[in-house]
Structure formats: structure tokens, C-alpha cells
Amino acid sequence: MDWRQLWEICSAPDNVPIVGLIPLLIFYIYLAWKQAKANDELIGELETNPAMAKTHHRKTWPFRPGWQKEIHVWPFLLRIEFLAAIIVTIILMVWSITLSAPLEEPSNPNLTMNPAKAPWYFLGLQEMLVYFDPWIAGVVMPTLIIVGLMVIPYIDTNPLGSGYYTWKQRKFAIGTFMFGFVVLWVAMIIIGTFIRGPGWQWFWPGQTWDHNRLIYEVNRDLPDLFGLTSNLAKAIFGAIVVGGYYLAGGFLVHALFRRYNPKDYQRMSLLQYSIMMFFWLTMVGLPLKMLLRLAFNIKYVWITPWFNV
């Protein structure tokens, strides 16, 4: 267990934000979960007791119950905002005084660092480069992520949970988002920061970053595994595989969604439903392809003269 290596990685100035992000994220997830739990309990009570539902208050965690319902922004909100600004400033100043921003050697186009990493917030995407072509990982994926985020409010037809934390009432939405954000985005960043070493090879935490380590990987393409040789055959095969994934996955998701979210299913129009399906399946396709690569050493699934997936 090479502690020094671990310390070197964690204390690199530009990695410190990620080291800080992890506990922050955990804390806020915990805070949200606590409130969701309280709300879900209240919802449970109210749903089992309709009479209570008519008269009982509908909020958990009231803030200063002795106060009036509406309070002046000046001073009550403003002082909290002021306090937040002060705390952020203190954190920032302490951090700036103790830790220096990195400045490495002057840029040299002829000498690439190893590993050459993108800024940490893009490391997730850089990790995708392992599994996908640059045009997918670098262009299509970010675009799909952005468009997918923008589409969320228009395909989410669940009217519950607007304005309060809940898990019970929005399992699908929250589960999907947390998978996409925490598992895919943040975890990829963590991998890109702490795990990927020289040559973008996989080093477990504590393993020394050996620049001379060579891992000989034989990656095969899926069509090759099936013995296809001609370009046409490969292209058709790949289309079938990808299309089949969307189809089969679509049926599976459809069955489960209809079973567990019947009301949402009824509320959604065909367009909303198809968009949701597309993005959901694409998102889940990512870890699947990663699995194919990591576990089975399969590189490409769909090969055409113009692009590879």
C-alpha cells in the first residue's frame, strides 16, 4: 500500500476540490435523505388517515413555529445570505492562503505529460474516451447530456414532489438522476482523478504509479467474435445489435415502468414516453458498454467505414 503515492495524488492542488467534493456530496445527500424520510413518513400517515389528511398540517421541519407565516426578508433572509457569504469567504481565504494554485513548467508542445488529464470536471468525459470514440465521448455525449438535462422538466409528468424532498413519490426520477449524477458523472471523475495513472492505466488506490508498467490488452471487436469479415456484414450486424439493445431494453423498461409507475405512464404522451426511453436507455448503455470492455475486452460493437460505436 503506497501511502505516499496516495498522498501525492490527493494533495495535488487541483485534486483537492475532488477530495473535498466527496464528503460534501455525501453530507448533502444525507441531508436530503433525512428530509425525504420525514416527508415520506408524513405522507404515509396522511394517506392512511383521510380525515387527518383534511386538517393536518402538510409540512415537516417547520422553521421557528412561533413565528408568523411570512417574515420580512430584511433582516431574516438577508442575514442568512450574509452569513453564507462570510462562511464561503472564510473557506476560500483559508484555502487560498494554505494551498497554492499549480503552475507547472511552461507549455511545451513537444513534451506531453503523462498522464495528460483534462480539468477535473471533464475527467468523466475523458474516462468515456476509453470506451468510445472521440466523437462520441467528446461531442455526442456532452450534447446528449445537456439536451437530456434540458428535456427533464418536459417529460416528467409526475405532479407529486414539487417543492419538497421525497423518495417514495418520485422513485423513478430521483433514482435515474442519482444514477446519472452520482454514479456516472461523479464516480467517473473520481476514477479519472485517483485511479487513472500513467498511460491512463488502471491503478488501484495505493498502487504506485509505475510509468513503465505495461499491460497487454487484447481488445476484440464484437463482429470479429462472430467471425464477420466484410464491412457490410459488420455494419449490419452492429446495427442489429444496437437496435436490438434499444428494442429489448425498451420492452423491459416498458414492462417495468408500466407496472410500477402506472399513473405516470398514463399521464405521459407518446412523445414524452419515447424521449424518456431514448435518454434512459442511452444513459444505461454507457455502463453496459463499459462492462463489455472491462470484463470481456470488447472494443467496438458497431463498425462502419465512417464511425464506430
Binding site: 487541483d14 476540490p17 473535498g20 467534493l21 448533502y28 441531508l31 425525504a36 405522507i43 396522511l46 394517506e47 389528511a53 409540512k59 413565528w67 407565516k69 411570512e70 417574515i71 426578508v73 431574516f76 433572509l77 438577508l78 442568512i80 457569504a85 464561503v88 476560500l92 484555502w95 487560498s96 492562503i97 494551498l99 497554492s100 494554485a101 503552475l103 513548467e105 511552461p106 507549455s107 511545451n108 508542445p109 506531453t112 505529460m113 495528460a116 488529464k117 483534462a118 468525459l125 472521440p134 466523437w135 465521448a137 467528446g138 461531442v139 427533464i152 422538466p153 418536459y154 405532479p159 407529486l160 414532489g161 414539487s162 417543492g163 419538497y164 424532498y165 421525497t166 430521483i174 449524477f181
Partner: protein
Amino acid sequence: MREENGNGKNGNRVGLLERVKAGVKEDVQSLKNDMPAKAKEQIEGLKDPTKTQVFTSIFRHKHDDTPRNRALGVLSNVFLHLHPAKINRDAVRYSYTWGMGGITFYLFIVLTFTGVLLMFYYHPSKVQAFRDVLYLEHDVPFGKLLRNMHRWAAHLMVIAVWLHMFRVFLTGSYKKPREFNWNIGVLLLVFTLLLSFTGYLLPDDQLGFWAVTVGTNMARATPLLGHEGPFGKMLGMTPYNDVRFGLLGGSIVDANALLRSYIWHCIGIPIVASVLMIVHFWRVRKDGGISGPAPVMLTAEADKPRRST
């Protein structure tokens, strides 16, 4: 005539002189008598600075604790009047909103301020950029502190933006009528990341140079628009006219790229982001303010027709 003008031998002149002398004596007398009292009165008046003309011309209302003046403190202040005069007391509770939106905005202001200061010592040219950063760190008083603050505030802002998005999602605050505001937020997220990315290159060190190289190399793989992307060659894309060329101002990450990065970072993107922020904050108010904590809604009530908010 002469005799009438005075009671002296020289007529006018003597009379005048006498009168002047008398007048002066009178003035002196009145000064001696009235001045101390008047002076005292005027000094007493200044003892309460809040009643002076200077003060009341700047501050147009009292700042005491009456409800009216508390409301005016917010509504009549150009910086604060984004807020409503009153908010629901539960919305003040930190654990609901986490304050991340406000923290992000505050960090943006800190970044603008520190950034402008850094601009006084930075030349966006290949020859000088790196040396300017060194100069800032060693020869400019507080230069190191400012650079560190700028960099760490940038990282913090990215983290705060993510946490903000996360919170908004968890509380369902993108649902009707806030869908558009969510999309503005997604755009702001993209621009925050781009701000960070363009700033990364500016020190012109190995870290920044290769990060941007990796990043922009992905652009050459853009479908249709990149010279190495699918169908790119067919549309006549070469390294000298594709989208990557447009980004870098050249085929390599060189002086042009540095200057463009600088302009995007300091002027282009901040202006766009500011406009989007204006819309974003405006929409928060117009869409009904902070979305909660809202009373929980039960499943049975979900599909009842409601008013549109």
C-alpha cells in the same frame, strides 16, 4: 443735501463712514450675541447624522425595525430588490435550499473581482503569459493570494453549481411552472464549465496546455464539422477549416488559441452568463419564488385539476 446726509462736517463721506462704522459695530455685536447660540443649535443638529440633508438624500427612508421600513429596505434598494419584501418563514431554513444558488452567484462576483485585478498584470501572449503568472506570484504584493483565490473560487463555483442543480432536482423545483428556468440553469452550468475551461489555458503551463489540447482534440472528431469526425472529410473538413480551427484560431494550440481563450474567458462568456443570470433570477421571482418547502401532496390529490401554479 450735504447736511441732510449726515451730521458731520464732510457731509456724505462722514455720514457714510459713520454709518459703516455703526453697521460694523452692530454686526459684531449681533455676532457676539447670537453666534454662540446659533452655532450650538447647528452643532446639535449635526449630532444626529441621520437627520442631515446629506444622509437623507442618500438613504431615502429610515432603517429601523418597523415592518414598513423593513419592507422598504428591500424594495427600495437596487441591489436587494430582487428579493420579495416577505417570504415564507420555512423558506429561510438552510436545509431546504442549501443556499447553493446564492453561493454560486457570490462566487461569480468574487471571481469577477479577483479576475479583473489579475488582468492588470497579465498579457495574453505566448511570450509573456507564463512569465506574468510567475511575476504575479512573486513580485506583486498579494498577487499569489489573488491568483489562488481566483482558482479555488472557480473550483468551488463548479461544485456549488452541481450541488445547486442536484438540490433543485431533488425538490422537484423544475416542475411546472419552472421548466424554463431549469433550462436556463442548464445553460448556466455549461457556461460555468466553459469559463473554467477557458481559464485553464491562460497560465500557459503544461497542465493547462495539455488539458486544452485534449479537450479541443475532441472537437476535431465532431461529426460533420470536424476533420476527423464521421462524415467530416466528405464535407471537405480539413485541420484548417473545421470547427476545431474555429475554436483555436489555428490548427494548433498556440498564440491565437491563447488570445481567444482569454477573450472568451474575460469578456465573451461572462457577458453571456450575466445575461442568463439576469433571466434566471428574474424567473425565480416570476415563477413564484423559492418553491418550498411546499406542503406535501398526496397521491390521491395528484390528478385533481389545480390552478396553474
